[in-house]
């Protein structure tokens, strides 16, 4: 029993770490640009398929390094052409646009790579289990968590210490003032969008190694990321981090006792949080309300 619980909690933490990566990207874009990026799952899929395509040439490690920036470049183009005209308009429009974009990406990947699932080969030592005692944890899962930790640390360092990061945080609080101080807000939004999509691309590569690739995989991962943001509190990146881990562990634990409810439990958590603390666990008062 304790083995089972340990397994599911670890599993939950790993899945949670994955949600965190997705949700942080979404959260970045949402906080600065007030855009709910429905196509985030689509960008994840693009990242995964790019990795699948370039792995035969440069190997898994090369793909891990190269696929996320390539995805970010695609994100930059999309932001520039499609999303930029919508800033300042009712958020309804960016929501609808990215929603349509998600359709196009899903259908497009199916058109290019086919509807069949595609496996991504990972280095042999990563596919090994950790030990015969802890057979349920493969090295790849630990590796995923390590990558997420590095990425999250780098993101927080970027936001804390670099000029770009400080501007992003300032823009989240008061974009008008930032613009009045002479900072190119358009550029800031583009770069911020690219950082968010970079994280989506990275999630895509990691997911590809664990789950294989399917054109529809992005949609299923989008909703938990939304809930991570709502539970953690909109406007707070540390909140998103904790929210993602919490819902991962919660659904992992529920899988032990009531497997059918493991999806539903995260919605229950959201309802409880909204009931007790409407702004989310770490949400600032008045932000986005």
């Amino acid at each position: 029993m304790s083995q089972l619980i340990l397994f599911n909690v670890t599993n939950g933490l790993i899945i949670g770490a994955f949600y965190v990566l997705m949700a942080l990207g979404l959260s970045l874009i949402l906080n600065l640009s007030n855009v709910i990026n429905f196509a985030h799952g689509g960008f994840l899929v693009i990242g995964g398929y790019i990795a699948y395509t370039i792995t035969p040439y440069i190997g898994f490690w090369g793909a891990l390094l190269l696929a996320p920036p390539l995805t970010a470049v695609i994100g930059l183009v999309v932001e520039r052409v499609l999303i930029r005209p919508l800033y300042g308009r009712d958020p309804l429009y960016s929501l609808l646009l990215t929603f349509g974009l998600a359709f196009m990406i899903e259908d497009g990947t199916r058109f290019i790579w086919g509807a069949q699932g595609k496996p991504v080969t990972i280095p042999a030592f990563l596919a090994q289990p950790l030990s015969s005692e802890l057979f349920f944890i493969t090295n790849y899962r630990l590796f995923m968590v390590a990558v997420v930790m590095v990425a999250v640390t780098l993101l927080f360092l970027l936001l804390r210490y670099t000029r770009l990061g400080i501007r992003i945080r300032a823009g989240t609080l008061d974009l008008e003032t930032v613009a009045a101080l002479g900072i190119n807000v358009q550029m800031l939004r583009s770069l911020n969008f690219a950082v968010g999509i970079f994280l989506a691309g990275l999630s895509g590569v990691l997911a590809a190694g664990q789950l294989g690739l399917e054109p529809t995989m992005g949609t299923g991962l989008l909703m938990p990321s939304f809930i991570a943001i709502i539970v953690g509190g909109i406007g707070s990146l540390p909140g998103t981090l904790i929210g993602g881990l919490l819902i991962g562990v919660a659904s992992g634990l529920t899988a032990v006792f009531l497997p059918a409810a493991s999806e539903a439990v995260i919605y229950v958590m959201m309802a409880v949080v909204l009931l007790i603390r409407p702004r989310g666990l770490f949400g600032e008062e008045g932000m986005m309300s």
Binding site: I36, P91, Y93, G100, M104, L275
Partner: protein, 317 residues
């Protein structure tokens, strides 16, 4: 009567005439009566959503949940409780409306994108329930094994199952009831208040309007209408589909409202007509219809954000 009023009356008469005669002009144009019925039901759903979106100004992106709940409510009633079409409609409407009312209390204090996100996430709850609880709902395969029943008027029975035209007129009657109620509410002082909140929430608050309560009432009413539309949809197909609860269905409804024109009462019906006919056509000619629907979303947002009616009105002005 002013010229404006006369014009409105003529437009209204034209809409209802077109709807009443639809089975007769759709078929020669290459359509079929069941397509007209679907347009009517999905149009009602889009109008119900627009009751909230266009007239109160809050963005719900999870309204398919209440639509789907209506469908399951009607289907389960027919399958397990009573063989009565009107009761099934009432049950569907109640299920959608009550669930909307309860969740609404958690949702109404949010605004803008936050409101949208919370409505999406809560909407998905019902999708998972319908998906997981297969013993009751049929899970992924959807709810089958029920069919709409003849209407019993005591003296005679009206067959709405095998006669597509009879069923169309029955749906049109239900549509008229719901749309009449919606128009009545919008013209009432409450409806005016909704529009005031849309135009300037802060000023409404300073005028002493309990904004949260009004938004909650508008949300709940719109869920009741949505449940009603969903119940009708279950009767159209004799089937309730879990994908009818999914947020992608909500996106379709929002798209219908936006494409037709959010600021007009009839716009969403027009949007639904264009959307349904286009989707029907595209899915018959290409397997990549999803791309085209997605492209439609992108193009409408970039080039026709006011929708067809908004575009016509502006180019006339």
């Amino acid at each position: 009567m002013s010229a404006e009023q006369t014009r409105k009356l003529i437009v209204l008469a034209a809409i209802w005439t077109a709807l009443l005669l639809a089975p007769y002009w759709m078929v020669p144009l290459g359509g079929y009566t069941a397509l007209a019925t679907r347009v009517l039901v999905l149009g009602l759903a889009a109008m119900s959503l627009n009751f909230l979106l266009g007239f109160t100004g809050v963005l719900s992106f999870g309204h398919a949940a209440y639509f789907g709940l209506g469908a399951y409510g009607a289907g389960l009633t027919l399958k397990f409780l009573v063989l009565s079409t009107p009761l099934a409609l009432v049950a569907g409407m109640l299920l959608g409306g009550l669930c909307g009312g309860i969740l609404g209390t958690l949702i109404v204090r949010r605004r803008g994108v936050y409101f949208a996100m919370v409505t999406i996430a809560f909407g998905q709850v019902f999708y998972y329930i319908a998906f997981q609880w297969s013993s009751l709902t049929g899970g992924d395969d959807g709810l089958r094994g029920f069919s709409r029943q003849p209407l019993d008027f005591g003296l005679f029975k009206l067959d709405i199952l095998s006669s597509a035209n009879n069923f169309y007129f029955f749906v049109l009657f239900c549509f008229a009831l719901a749309v009449g109620a919606m128009g009545f509410i919008l013209r009432s002082p409450f409806g005016r208040t909704m529009i005031a909140i849309r135009e300037n929430e802060r000023r409404s608050r300073f005028l002493g309007i309990p904004v949260e309560r009004h938004i909650w009432i508008a949300f709940t009413l719109s869920c009741f209408f949505m449940g009603f539309a969903g119940a009708l949809y279950a009767l159209v197909n004799n089937f309730a589909d879990p994908r009818g609860l999914h947020y992608s269905q909500s996106g379709d409804f929002v798209m219908m409202a936006v494409m037709g024109g959010m600021r007009s009462f009839w716009g969403p019906l027009l949007g639904a007509a264009v959307f349904v006919v286009l989707q029907d056509y595209l899915s018959s000619v290409t397997v990549n219809w999803m791309s085209f629907v997605g492209l439609l979303f992108v193009l409408v947002v970039l080039f026709f954000p006011r929708g067809l009616l908004g575009f016509l009105q502006r180019s006339k002005a």
